[in-house]
């Protein structure tokens, strides 16, 4: 063996070890990752809307609001939950202030002739609620349908 080959072998081994260490760190980070959950609301049922909001609050209370991302996605028959005059309107404000992301499906809004003026001011928007719910799960978010 010559000195140059030896150094190359050493460098390869060292870089392999560094990459493995980086990978191990990623695994540790994954274990310590924040909780993430997407809550689906697709029923025209104020009892379900309240249950979804209770669930969001209980999750924050139980693991600490700082340790969990909660996103509520309303679509289809559930869109009424996010109208400005919904029976849960004040609770939507509270949830939003508590850091819960509340999203309305623009597909559904178009179908029901709703504009942003009809919706709660704290609401955010996604083009399609079902796509949002699918994408979040593919990014590792848990799913809850109260």
């Amino acid at each position: 063996m010559n000195r140059r080959s030896f150094i190359q072998a050493g460098a390869l081994a060292a870089s392999a070890t560094l990459l493995i260490a980086a990978n191990a760190q990623t695994t540790v980070a994954a274990t310590q990752k924040r909780h993430k959950i997407v809550i689906q609301v697709s029923d025209a049922d104020p009892a379900k809307w309240n249950l979804a909001l209770n669930n969001a609050r209980n999750l924050q209370d139980d693991v600490g609001a700082a340790h969990v991302d909660v996103e509520i996605v309303a679509y289809g028959p559930g869109i009424g939950m996010l109208k400005f005059d919904a029976p849960v309107a004040s609770r939507i404000s509270d949830a939003s202030k508590a850091g819960v992301k509340v999203l309305a499906c623009e597909n559904t809004m178009r179908g029901q002739k709703l504009t942003k003026d009809d919706m709660h001011a704290a609401v955010g928007y996604v083009p399609a609620g079902v796509t949002e719910i699918m994408k979040k799960q593919s990014e590792g978010w848990a799913y809850l349908r109260p």
Copy 2:
């Protein structure tokens, strides 16, 4: 050190590096993977059947039918959705033509004395709907229950 030992060390380091590169490539492929979603229908409610079919179509419209695998699994009280004379029968045909896989639970069919003659011609079959839904999730599919 002798030449043979040195070559072994180099080979080990090189193969380690190759394996790590392969692993990195897998990660990239995972990021670029197709969307996949299994939609559960377990209610005897034609409004839910229509919502499930709307959801499937919206997903295809939103991300492009070529970029998402959509599978609808009907079981339990939801099996009626897939009978040949269901109120949504023509929509099942449309969904199937659009590439949505529509599956009936054979467990449920046995329990309700249904045969394949009772079912929509475009329907596929799984031994147990709940197992299908579980397995798809363990393979990384998102879950949706409209």
Copy 3:
């Protein structure tokens, strides 16, 4: 190159290879992993309670009880399923004997002034049903809401 450097290079390469081998083994184990599924019950509807119990049994029948972990979590309006005098009480006993874990949400129990004396003897407890459902999914369990 000197002997000591060479030995270090060899040791690095060898440990890299061992770590990679360990990682590959984890991947194989993941592929062969048991099925795991958490079933949510959040409706005050005995038909849903029976459906959830049917689903648990069908899963065990279909893949073999030895190959699947099934956990039923009842919370919110679904908590009634796990009271000692629920219409499905004898089926809760059967499910528990068959290895299904049945869990009641203590948050819900507090809200409904229920104590463990009100509940089925085979029931286990979690501080918050929604957190349990979220955590199980983040550990790779499938989700089912009958």
